[in-house]
């Protein structure tokens, strides 16, 4: 078995300023298997770009051990020249020598990677065509839009056919079609090269990644195989549509049976469109809104029990079930679950609402 393309152990990075000290990375460890497509997820400011800059040698870690393509990385300086010839890095906002045109940028990259001249020229031509830059290839890159620069950056990192691609938000400036094409292209590298890319677009990660690392405020919160993460962090959930006049009865029935200890697997029952979500061992859910769809969630690992009992309980209670389907777990659920409660969507609005209620009560008294 080949060694991992990236191995990071106990990575820390502290930025010391005049006024404050920021711990951008706190003891982060991970390992990226060779030939995998590895997603590096986190909200803005989580430490993704800092990690990539340390991997490329632009920044120095405060502590930690790093290995890239089997070579121990030392600082200052970062990866050796030999290792850097095998990797390519794309920053989030690529910058090129401003007075060069796209052909000259590709030529410069080819020379720096010591690629054979003729083969490099042919490959450059093809890559520029693939990324729809051929007709603008003789224009100064200074006049390129952000999206064009990102496409040129992608063409430039693919030119030397590196063993390891380090990409920082590689499709953030692309339109949906461009994003789809680039992700498909990256996915096609699986097995031939390792792709390590940071993003906060969960759908992109879900689409092509084998493994995922999630960091938040400089700390690793989860790492693993996509399927394993989804199974671990998203509880089994079913979508149940009833007749509109029966939705409250359905919810009450499930809560009642759970209270009686007949449905030990049941975690929650909620209206699909409603914000209210109550644990079943508390009071019955407040079913505001006009939806007739319930989301029934089981405790992690108890899918089979739910599948065996849920429909039977509802039908036996006289509920007409119009639709019954499993909810496909997604990375967004995992991601949101791993974020601290204060950073989940809706928290700010809820907090503000609560504050307003408190203020209103105080005024009334």
């Amino acid at each position: 078995m080949s060694s991992p393309a990236i191995e990071v152990r106990g990575l820390r990075k502290r930025f010391t300023g005049r006024k404050q000290t920021v711990d951008a990375l706190k003891d982060v460890s991970f390992s990226v298997p060779s030939g995998s497509i590895y997603g590096f997820l986190g909200p803005n400011g989580a430490g993704k770009t800092t990690t990539l800059r340390i991997l490329t040698g632009l920044l120095q870690p405060t502590a930690g051990d790093l290995r890239l393509l089997g070579e121990t990385v030392t600082y200052p300086g970062g990866p050796t020249l030999a290792t850097r010839r095998r990797l390519a890095y794309l920053p989030q906002d690529p910058v090129f020598p401003a007075r060069l045109n796209a052909f000259e940028v590709m030529e410069l990259v080819a020379e720096l990677y010591r690629l054979p001249r003729r083969a490099a020229a042919e490959r450059s031509q093809k890559l520029l065509a693939d990324f729809e830059l051929l007709k603008d290839a003789k224009r100064s890159v200074k006049s390129f839009s952000r999206g064009m620069k990102q496409r040129l950056g992608l063409a430039a990192v693919l030119l030397p056919e590196p063993d390891l691609l380090l990409l920082d938000e590689p499709v953030s400036a692309l339109d949906p079609v461009g994003r789809y094409e680039v992700l498909t292209r990256l996915a096609a590298l699986r097995g031939r090269a390792t792709v390590f890319f940071s993003t906060h677009i969960l759908a992109d990660v879900e689409r092509i990644c084998d493994r995922v690392l999630i960091i938040h405020q400089g700390s690793k919160v989860a790492e693993g195989d996509m399927g394993e993460l989804l199974a671990r962090f998203t509880p089994p959930r079913y979508r149940v549509r009833t007749r509109p006049d029966q939705v409250e009865l359905a919810a009450a029935t499930l809560n009642q049976q759970q209270a009686e200890g007949k449905l030990p697997w049941l975690l929650s029952v909620e209206l699909e469109s409603g914000a209210a979500s109550k644990e079943t061992n508390q009071e019955a859910p407040a079913l505001n809104g006009d939806s007739s769809v319930l989301l029934v969630t089981a405790q992690a690992g108890r899918r089979s029990e739910m599948e065996a009992e849920l429909l039977r309980v509802l039908v036996n209670s006289g509920i007409t079930v119009l639709e019954y389907s499993p909810v496909r777990p997604d990375l967004e659920s995992v991601f949101l679950q791993l974020l601290p409660e204060t950073e989940r969507p809706g928290f700010a609005e809820e907090s503000a609402e609560e504050e307003r209620d408190v203020a209103a009560n105080a005024d009334a008294q």
């Binding site: 800059r53 490329t56 040698g57 632009l58 920044l59 120095q60 200052p76 300086g77 020249l81 850097r84 010839r85 890095y89 920053p91 906002d93 690529p94 910058v95 090129f96 020598p97 401003a98 007075r99 060069l100 000259e104 410069l108 990259v109 020379e111 720096l112 990677y113 010591r114």
Partner: protein, 267 residues
């Protein structure tokens, strides 16, 4: 790798009109100074013609014309050089280009070395070309100039320019912005001339780099005072020339050492 980087650097300097600007400044002085010197008496007479005043002016000499040329070059020419060089590293660190380059298979030494070598070679080549034009044109207007003093003066101006480039590289490497690098360089040049003004009568004054500029007139007229031989010329500015080269080397070593350890936050 160094040649690739130097070619890229050359293209950037040329296409951004930085080197053409320096070339035009040198060409302008190379043509205008001999001409103005040759006709300075006629110009003055023209201005005072109505006042019926008779002014007696010395006959202009070739040394005077070249002295004017080197004087202008060492002021406005070097100011243009500061404008070109102040962003040599600082601007690219700021806009992320340094980060982009250093994440290719490029060593930090090669990146900085290509910048230093390209700028120094370009400046030296332009100074030689400008001086050759000024020398030829002066010769056609005012007669020949002894080669020894001219070459020695040029060597002094080149050494001074190399020193400025070396300081610019260091300042641009450690400063946070191009303008602070430029400002720092101007301050140091001012301090250099101040130190020379205070120490010129002492032995120390012979070693201050600014002596290379302050003694241009003396060097160019060395033939008149019988000092046109190597010993005489060496005595005039030799120690300052050696000091300048040693200082330039030291500044470059510091710049490379600092750059090797720096973090590049943009890129």
């Amino acid at each position: 790798m160094l040649l690739t980087l130097m070619r890229n650097e050359w293209r950037q300097l040329w296409r951004s009109f930085q080197l053409p600007a320096l070339a035009l400044v040198l060409l302008f002085f190379a043509l205008s100074d001999p001409l103005l010197t040759r006709y300075q008496n006629e110009i003055v007479q023209m201005f005072v013609a109505d006042q019926k005043v008779e002014i007696s002016l010395p006959t202009p000499t070739a040394a005077q014309a070249l002295g004017q040329f080197f004087g202008d070059v060492s002021q406005l020419g070097l100011f243009v050089l500061i404008l070109i060089g102040m962003g040599i590293v600082a601007a690219e660190k700021e806009n992320g280009l340094t980060g982009w380059m250093l994440t290719r298979p490029v060593t930090r030494q090669a990146y900085l070395g290509a910048k230093v070598a390209t700028l120094m070679l370009a400046v030296v080549a332009l100074l030689i070309a400008g001086t050759a034009i000024a020398w030829a044109y002066t010769g056609s207007l005012l007669g020949p100039v002894p080669a020894g003093p001219l070459v020695w003066t040029l060597a002094g101006v080149i050494a001074y320019a190399v020193l400025i480039v070396a300081f610019l590289v260091l300042a641009s490497t450690v400063a946070r912005s191009p303008w602070s690098a430029g400002g720092l360089t101007i301050l140091v040049l001012f301090a250099n001339s101040l130190i020379y003004a205070l120490a010129q009568q002492s032995t120390v004054g012979r070693f201050v780099p600014y002596r290379l500029i302050a003694s241009i007139g003396q060097v160019l007229t060395a033939a008149d005072s019988g000092n046109a031989g190597l010993a005489g010329l060496w005595d005039l500015t030799g120690p300052a020339l050696v000091t300048s080269m040693l200082l330039a080397a030291l500044l470059l070593v510091l710049a490379f050492a600092s750059f090797a350890r720096q973090e590049i936050p943009n890129g």
